[in-house]
C-alpha cells in the first residue's frame, strides 16, 4: 500500500517547477498592473475600462489556474475541471440573473 501511494504522489510531483511558478507570478503582476494603470490614469471610457478590468482579471484567473493550481494535472476525466466549468456557469447565472431581475426591482435609495 505504501508503494501504491508513493507511486501516486510521484505522479503528482511532476507538476510545478520553479520556472512555472515564477512565470505565473510575473504574468499575474503584469495582469494586475495593466488595469491599475488604465483605471488610475483614466485612460479609457467607461465601457473600455470595464472590459480591460474584466479581461485582465479573467486572464489572471486562468494564469493562476494553470501555473499555480496545476489544473492540467490529474488524469482524465478531469472532475475538477468539469466542476469548475459548471461552477463558473452557475456563478454567471447568479450574478447576471440577479442583476437582470433586480433591474426591475429597484427601491428608493
Amino acid at each position: 500500500m505504501a508503494e501504491h501511494n508513493s507511486h501516486d504522489s510521484h505522479a503528482h510531483e511532476q507538476h510545478g517547477s520553479l520556472k512555472s511558478y515564477v512565470i505565473g507570478f510575473i504574468l499575474s503582476i503584469v495582469l494586475t498592473i495593466i488595469p491599475l494603470v488604465v483605471v488610475l490614469n483614466d485612460m479609457m471610457g467607461r465601457t473600455g475600462t470595464m472590459v480591460v478590468i474584466l479581461v485582465t482579471a479573467a486572464l489572471q484567473f486562468v494564469v493562476q489556474l494553470f501555473f499555480f493550481m496545476h489544473i492540467r494535472e490529474t488524469g482524465k476525466p478531469r472532475w475538477n475541471v468539469m466542476a469548475l466549468i459548471f461552477g463558473l456557469l452557475i456563478m454567471m447565472t447568479i450574478v447576471i440573473g440577479s442583476i437582470w431581475i433586480m433591474l426591475n426591482n429597484v427601491v428608493a435609495h
Binding site: 488595469p35 467607461r46 470595464m50 478590468i53 452557475i90 440577479s98
Partner: protein, 204 residues
C-alpha cells in the same frame, strides 16, 4: 472514472478497492472550493445590486485609498507565490524549507489582514460603517468574508506547520499541504475579482 476502477482491478493483491485517501481529499476539497465560489458569487451579486444604495451616506468610491489596496494586492499575490515555493520544497523533500516558506506565506497573509483591518477602521471613522447603508453593508460583508477566509487559513497554516515539525513530510502531511495551498491560491483568485469589481470599478 473507469480508469481508476480498472487500475484497481488490475492491482489484484494490492489493497483491492483501497483508494488513495489523499487523492480523495484533494478532489473533495476542490468540490468544496467550487461551493465557495458560489458563496462568493452570491456576495458579489448582492454587492453589485446594492452598490448604489447608499441611503444618502458616504459613497465607497470616495473612501477607497488605492495605495493600501495596491499594497494588499501585491502582498497577497506574493504570498500565493511563496505558498507555491513551499510546495516545491515539499516535493523535493525539504521539510525545513517547506516550513520556512509557509511561515513567509503566513506573515504576508497576516500583513494583508493588518492592512485590511486598518482600511476598514479608517472607513468606519469616516462614517462608512457596516450599518450605514445597504451599499456599505454589502461592501464590508463581501470583502470581510474574504478576509475571514484568509484569517482562518492562517490559523490552519500555523497548525500544519506544527504538524510538519512533529511528523515531517509523509503521505498524510503532503496531502494536507496540497489542500491548503489550493485554498490559498483560491483566495488570491477571489481577491483578483474583489480588486476588479469592488475597487477598480469603484474608483473608475
Amino acid at each position: 472514472m473507469a480508469q481508476a476502477a480498472a487500475k484497481h482491478g488490475h492491482d489484484h493483491g494490492h489493497d483491492h478497492g483501497h483508494h488513495d485517501p489523499q487523492e480523495l481529499k484533494l478532489l473533495g476539497f476542490w468540490f468544496f472550493l467550487i461551493s465557495d465560489v458560489i458563496l462568493f458569487s452570491v456576495l458579489f451579486a448582492t454587492f453589485i445590486v446594492l452598490r448604489d444604495n447608499t441611503a444618502g451616506g458616504p459613497i465607497l468610491s470616495e473612501l477607497i485609498k488605492m495605495p493600501g489596496v495596491i499594497a494588499e494586492t501585491f502582498i497577497l499575490l506574493t504570498s500565493s507565490f511563496t505558498s507555491g515555493l513551499a510546495v516545491l520544497a515539499m516535493n523535493q523533500g525539504k521539510v525545513k524549507q517547506l516550513i520556512s516558506w509557509l511561515a513567509v506565506t503566513a506573515v504576508l497573509g497576516a500583513a494583508f489582514i493588518a492592512l485590511e483591518v486598518t482600511e476598514f477602521v479608517e472607513m468606519i471613522h469616516e462614517g462608512f460603517s457596516y450599518t450605514t447603508s445597504a451599499a456599505s453593508g454589502a461592501f464590508f460583508t463581501l470583502v470581510g468574508t474574504h478576509g475571514l477566509h484568509v484569517s482562518l487559513g492562517l490559523i490552519w497554516m500555523i497548525g500544519l506547520m506544527f504538524q510538519l515539525k512533529k511528523r515531517g513530510i509523509t503521505d498524510v502531511t503532503r496531502g494536507k499541504i496540497n489542500v491548503i495551498s489550493l485554498y490559498w491560491h483560491f483566495l488570491d483568485v477571489v481577491w483578483i475579482f474583489l480588486l476588479s469589481i469592488v475597487y477598480l470599478m469603484g474608483v473608475m
